[in-house]
């Protein structure tokens, strides 16, 4: 079933030159004279008795070295056309890491201040944190930019690392250990961003070099 285009009216079917018409039979190539002599009219789909097993079919793809070279160049060019910018999802991740530090330190400060009648400090910190977590998702949803292949798996790992660190931070909020956990979010964000930035820089380099030389290589 063909995927439907995104709410656009269907354009008249365009055929690529060389593209066989739908339903057109594939032209059969030359048949070995040996098999033809053995049985001039073999039944469809069955080998005549005693006939040698036919040689495997060569798809005969018309791909010479020059065509292969051009196709490889196209593949490389399309690979470089992936956006050369850090995805907006890292805005989300930055916000989450800030929230991680502030919420864990906030819970620690609340525990140090002691209980206040009529006010649950811990609950206030947690509610504020969750509200900003919800807001932090917005950049990823709003910008919807292309993610480089492999970023999906990295993203799951980064989110898992953040979740583990935050849960640990909430659990140890009353102890001094949180003074170690809190700043770890900073390290987590830098650790997440640095490889992404270097990947982007590496992808940008050939493009910018080409622009400087006027496209000549």
């Amino acid at each position: 079933m063909s995927p439907s285009p995104d709410h656009r009216p269907a354009a008249p079917a365009d055929r690529i030159p060389g593209d066989p018409a739908p339903g057109a039979p594939v032209a059969a190539g030359p048949v070995s004279p040996d098999s033809a002599a053995a049985d001039p009219a073999p039944a469809a789909g069955r080998l005549p008795h005693g006939a040698p097993h036919p040689a495997p079919i060569d798809l005969g793809l018309p791909l010479d070295a020059e065509t292969a070279r051009r196709r490889l160049a196209e593949a490389e060019q399309r690979g470089r056309s992936v956006p050369t910018a850090v995805p907006a999802a890292f805005i989300t991740y930055g916000m989450l890491c800030v929230l991680g530090t502030m919420s864990t330190l906030g819970l620690h400060l609340v525990s140090r201040l002691g209980p206040t009648p009529g006010f649950d400090g811990k609950l206030a910190v947690l509610i504020a944190t969750l509200a900003w977590v919800a807001v932090s998702i917005l950049p990823t949803l709003l910008f919807r930019d292309r993610w480089r292949r492999g970023l999906g798996r990295r993203w799951l790992l980064l989110m898992g690392a953040w979740a583990v660190l935050w849960i640990v931070g909430v659990l140890v909020a009353e102890s001094s250990l949180v003074l170690v956990i809190g700043p770890l979010f900073l390290a987590l964000f830098v650790g997440a961003l640095a490889p992404e930035a270097s990947t982007v820089a590496a992808r940008r380099a050939p493009t910018e070099r080409g622009a400087e030389t006027g496209g000549a290589r």
Binding site: A11, S32, D58, L59, D64, A68, L72
Partner: protein, 117 residues
């Protein structure tokens, strides 16, 4: 696509490009079509692409892209996920794991062809 029966004396077996075989036998037949090749080349570098973005990048019409995507889906190289953004339908395309593997093998075969020349 024209099918040609090979000569038994060639000793060539349609295979996966194992040692001794011409690298063209490791080519992915589905990718012989230039638009399908371009589709997979574009999808190989990203996690996914919306249908409209891919159409604009390849500069083809909706119908051409739909048809070739359907071929690639049938061949197991591409996955099309349908969703809605509000009330607007959105089709997101991505390479399957098998598609990525076959794409890389196709590129290797082409590099071998270029290297043989």
């Amino acid at each position: 696509m024209t099918a040609r029966v090979g000569n038994a004396e060639d000793g060539i077996v349609q295979g996966k490009g194992s040692q001794g075989e011409h690298p063209r036998f490791a080519l992915e037949p589905t990718l012989s079509h230039p638009v399908r090749f371009s589709i997979v080349a574009a999808l190989a570098a990203v996690e996914s692409l919306p249908f409209g973005d891919l159409r604009d990048e390849l500069a083809v019409s909706d119908s051409v892209l739909s048809k070739q995507i359907a071929e690639l889906e049938t061949g197991g190289l591409v996955r099309a996920a349908k969703s809605f953004v509000g009330k607007r339908p959105r089709t997101t395309l991505s390479l399957t794991a098998d598609g990525l593997r076959r794409w890389k093998r196709h590129l290797e075969a082409m590099r071998a062809i270029v290297g043989d020349a």
